[in-house]
Subunit: 110 residues, 2 copies
DNA sequence: GAGCGTGGTTACCGATTGGATACCGTGGTG
DNA sequence: CACCACGGTATCCAATCGGTAACCACGCTC
């Protein structure tokens, strides 16, 4: 999903302290996701970093972690109101990046 | 200038690799600035980091460095077109941050 | 009871970041 | 000559980042 288009080193912005946070947020756009569901689109992230990102986003109030009292273990992550409100400026930024992608690459090369 | 309102550790986003880049860009909003002029509003940044931010922003094509062939040494930094275009999403983000400042603080505390 | 999936944690370790501090060459100025 | 401002560099060091790999408890299934 983000592998090619979002090496994140090229994107000139970051959400949260770590570089994955923005992508995690975008993965939660369409509703709650489980830990293992997040690992699919974010294949390149190690479990350690994913946990770290999730904890950090939770601490900052962007996402909510819910652990279900079911026989099989089930944990989901979803955006809070605050997290959802962040999507708008985030999208502004992403569309800026798409729009200026070529310029970014040109500037990097030279 | 940014001392109290922008500890940057609180701001949930970053421009460029380093945490100062966003503030540097905003300092250049109103026109070219000299190295020493930038150090005033960005009092808390070390010369090393300021240089690093400036070099990085220059490499990425957001700012332009101009060295004048004058007897006294004079160097200015100004936004390029690309850099200027980044101001808009940047401002979107900043106003988001202002709007949700209390929520951010609340989330951090608990 | 061996193995699997879920949702992680832990230990280790090299690479990177970032702060403080001191220093430097050039060109004025007193 | 001494000293200052400008625009940085150089060095040192501690903290953090981030990847790999192993491990773990729990419940389920074969």
């Amino acid at each position: 999903m983000f592998e090619e288009i979002c090496p994140s080193s090229l994107l000139p912005f970051r959400i949260g302290g770590d570089k994955w946070a923005g992508m995690v947020l975008r993965c939660l756009e369409d509703g709650p996701r489980r830990y293992s569901e997040l690992r699919v689109p974010l294949a390149r992230i190690s479990p350690k970093m994913l946990t770290q990102s999730l904890r950090s986003l939770e601490r900052d109030g962007f996402i909510r972690r819910t652990e279900y009292a079911e026989p099989v273990r089930r944990v989901t992550y979803e955006l809070t109101g605050l997290g959802r409100s962040l999507l708008e400026p985030l999208r502004t930024f992403c569309s800026w990046a798409e729009e200026h992608w070529d310029e970014l690459l040109d500037a990097r090369e030279s």
